[in-house]
Amino acid sequence: MKFLSLDAAWFALILPVIVIFYLLKRRRVRVRVPSTVLWQRYLAETQASAPFQKLRKNWLLFLQLLLLAFAVFALTRPYFAGQQRPSQLRVVILDASASMQSTDVEPSRFEAARREALRWVDGLKPGQLMVVLQAGPRTEVRQSATTDKAALRRALAACAVTDGVARMSEALKMAESLIRDTADAEVHLFSDGAVGSLEEFENRNLPLVFHQSGVRAGNVALASVDVRPNPENPRQRAVFVSVANLTSQSVETTVELGFEGEPLDVRPVTLPAGETVPLVFIVAQEKDGVFTVRHTAKDDLAADNEASVVSLLPAPVRALLVTKGNRFLEKALRSAGEIQLSVASTWAAGMAAAGAGADATGAAGVWDFVVFDDVAPAEWPAVNVLAVRVAATNWFEATAPVRAPSIVDWKTTHPLLRFVNLDNVAVAEAVGVKPPSWGQVIVDSTQAPLVVAGEVGRQRVVWIGFDLLSSTWPLRVSFPMFVANAVEWLNPSTRKAERLNLHAGDPLRFEVPDGVRTAEVRSPGGEWQTVSLDAGAREGVFGATDRQGQYRLRLGTNEVAVAVRAIDPAESDSAPRSEIKVGRFGGTAATTMRSANLEIWRWFAAVALAVLMFEWWYYHRRTA
């Protein structure tokens, strides 16, 4: 044991003060007695006339010396040296993701992690710096580098757990930048290990210390909730729900479906251990509203037991197909749900048929999206676009054509490629373009991108870089599925619905009508928050969507519901990890290192207080 403030031993000079207290005269009550003979003999045994005496057993003196000893000892700040390295800078990352709400440790993993972090704050030596980062959907710097323990404690106290995912790579990047210029720095991550992929940190030699919290996996989660038109009856809505049992035991529960607060259906479900059970609710929907799904199983993590989805009534989509003739594409478009398709050979003809001007903005009020099949418009319309074999425009920089490109990769996670398999698709020739900065290549070949999807301004654009009729794709099942996905993705109402369904932590973006300067958002807790909008702003952003549930967005006189959900596979799988994988081969095992320099002055202060109280009681007992 060592002392941080040995100078405090000077306080031991208070000892003579105690003696002075004993020398002080007391106010005494005068009592008349028959004789003082007996009292003199009594005092002869408890007092002495000599200035010094043999120290007698005096409990009060003993207690006071004990009290002072503990107090002085506490002031010297004794500590036990821990297994610490002499780091001058520690970056504390506190995982504030949804899985940290698990209650397998009391009161929660987050609170346990915060307690452990506070112990490390207590263990800071003078001159050592610490930074506090909160890692949730966003990484927040709660406290910049400081040696001020009080500020660090306040920063940790201000951290709050969210319902979102932990974007740990962002936090680690920030931590890495903070320790870049410090040779003996450490990054302390207080987490349960559900941090997603950290591939980019492989071989970066990040001085990461992982403090693991959590003891068991005991979560039953809503793995996914989606509302789509019923394929068999487009007038109805199909609510797809999948419930995952991430525990090691079979669970029986019920899944409840509600719409705008009204219960619609309840289904009992038996969930085998480790299994995911899908459910489909077929319901009628008369108006736009919010579907709420919840399961009633008791588990450690409550955040993903309920999810809400904003569902808008389907509206017919209006589309213009500008083509020189492509029956496959036309039929695929016509079969893709409720679509009002117009076909024209040229862009001007299509606009003329619709009675609109041939300019770019005129199309916005007529079509929801336009399909250019091997026809290059003079100007891109101001609506969503599906362009097939259109190159050499302002959106693409053409290169040499590519013959017989072989498909090597496609992004199955993209909504456009949902259920789409391109294994047996062959392409004769493709337009060579450079991948645009605004788009994402979702189907790639060895030489050139084949399908690109992205947003240019507020327009969604899907670009196919080869002639469909020069490929085998129209003959494959995947083609109508892709077209159906594209129709849905390009449908503006789909985009609107997507904006109203967020994951926790994602910013809420909304279009701002003219003349509106403020927006109000009501959180699931019921508090209204005001968002100030700049004059002329066309889009507003609200970022405080850390909690799942229903939000209400009020813009002027309009009010819409926004659903924020905590569903995320990485967070729902709340099994504590004993190791954080960093890339394929790297990893950081949970440390057993305890807080360095564990200060124990509080214990001595507490004991001193207890002794003080006992002495008080004892004194009054003596003179009572």
């Binding site: 007391r26 106010r27 005494r28 009550v29 005068r30 009592v31 008349r32 007695v33 028959p34 004789s35 003082t36 003979v37 007996l38 009292w39 003199q40 003999r41 009594y42 005092l43 045994e45 408890t46 007992r621 003596r622 003179t623 009572a624």
Partner: protein, 345 residues
């Protein structure tokens, strides 16, 4: 002023007027008549009584023979002995004398403490012991100390009798004393059961108070007594000057001394705690004490040590010692404790 009390000049009704609160109940008086004071010494008194003495005289108890000399009463010749030895012997009998009983009653200021007051208990005890002695045809004197101060005696007046000062203070000369002194004088030399009521009445009217020096008072009283006999000291024995001087004087004078220490319950178990400044009722000396319940045990030990020291002192000098409390039942003390202590038999 009270009327002068002749030993035969009172009746029961008058006694009730004098003693509104009888010291002893009739039942206790009846029980006390069965007791007597135990004395190991033979009486050397001149008066006749029922105690054995060293003197030879008339009684039924044979003592010794001596040769006949001319002039002896022929009625005491032992004719049987003359028949066997052919010599004349006179039979001698033990003379029975009275036992002078001196009761030293502490009436100092310190005896006024306690509930009931130590003096009240001591006065009743003195009355009871005196009554036992009177029933045994002994001469009883109650010597109350301290003596009333003539200068401060509220009852002293020009009409009071003049007494020899030496009787009260050991000094020479004559002085006029008040009614209190007269009452105390009436308590000296009381004899006979018939004098009991006036004895009780006088005792009941003794006014306690004042500072006393135990040693001086006992020493002076011991010198005043002509015939030493049994002495009973009723006091708390808490004089700052000690007690040995007075008791030694009694022993040296030839008394058979019985010491009864009377302590108040508050002295045995103090009930006042805290930071105290104690003032001695007699000397006015002050003593600062911090006292709490936790020290009761130590205080009790001090009292026991003091008493034990006193007991050992008495044992070493052949005195009988007995300690009692002022709230003790008088019947129990007399009929059980004092008999066990061999003060009464």
């Amino acid at each position: 002023m009270l009327p002068p009390l002749g030993k035969s000049g009172f009746n029961l009704r008058r006694c009730h007027w004098i003693v509104p609160d009888p010291l002893l109940s009739a039942r206790l008086l009846h029980q006390l008549e069965q007791l007597e004071l135990v004395s190991r010494r033979r009486s050397r008194s001149a008066g006749r009584g029922e105690r054995q003495s060293r003197s030879r005289g008339q009684s039924v108890d044979f003592a010794d023979y001596r040769s006949y000399v001319l002039g002896d009463d022929l009625r005491h010749l032992d004719w049987n002995l003359f028949g066997r030895l052919d010599r004349l012997f006179i039979k001698l009998y033990q003379e029975e004398r009275e036992l002078p009983v001196q009761i030293f009653l502490d009436a100092s200021e310190s005896m006024l403490f306690g509930a009931p007051a130590k003096f009240d208990f001591a006065r009743r005890l003195a009355a009871a012991l005196g009554y036992v002695a009177l029933c045994g045809f002994d001469r009883v004197s109650v010597r109350v100390f301290p003596e009333p101060d003539a200068g401060t005696d509220p009852d002293a007046s020009a009409g009071d009798p003049v007494v020899l000062d030496g009787l009260l203070a050991g000094g020479g000369g004559r002085r006029r004393v008040g009614a209190e002194a007269a009452r105390r004088m009436a308590l000296l030399g009381v004899r006979g059961k018939r004098a009991a009521l006036s004895f009780f009445a006088d005792l009941a009217q003794v006014t306690p108070g004042g500072a006393a020096s135990f040693n001086d008072a006992i020493r002076r009283a011991a010198l005043q007594v002509r015939q030493p006999g049994a002495a009973i000291v009723l006091s708390d024995l808490l004089d700052p000057q000690g007690y040995s001087g007075g008791l030694d004087a009694l022993v040296a004078r030839g008394f058979h001394v019985n010491v009864v220490q009377i302590l108040a319950p508050e002295e045995l178990e103090p009930t006042t705690f805290g930071d105290l400044r104690l003032a001695d009722a007699e000397t006015g000396a002050e003593q600062e004490v911090t006292f709490g319940k936790y020290r009761l045990k130590a205080y009790r030990q001090v009292v026991e040590n003091y008493t034990q020291k006193l007991r050992e002192y008495c044992r070493g000098r052949g005195l009988r010692f007995f300690r009692t409390r002022s709230d003790a039942a008088l019947e129990g003390v007399l009929l059980r404790d004092l008999r066990r202590a061999e003060v009464l038999g």
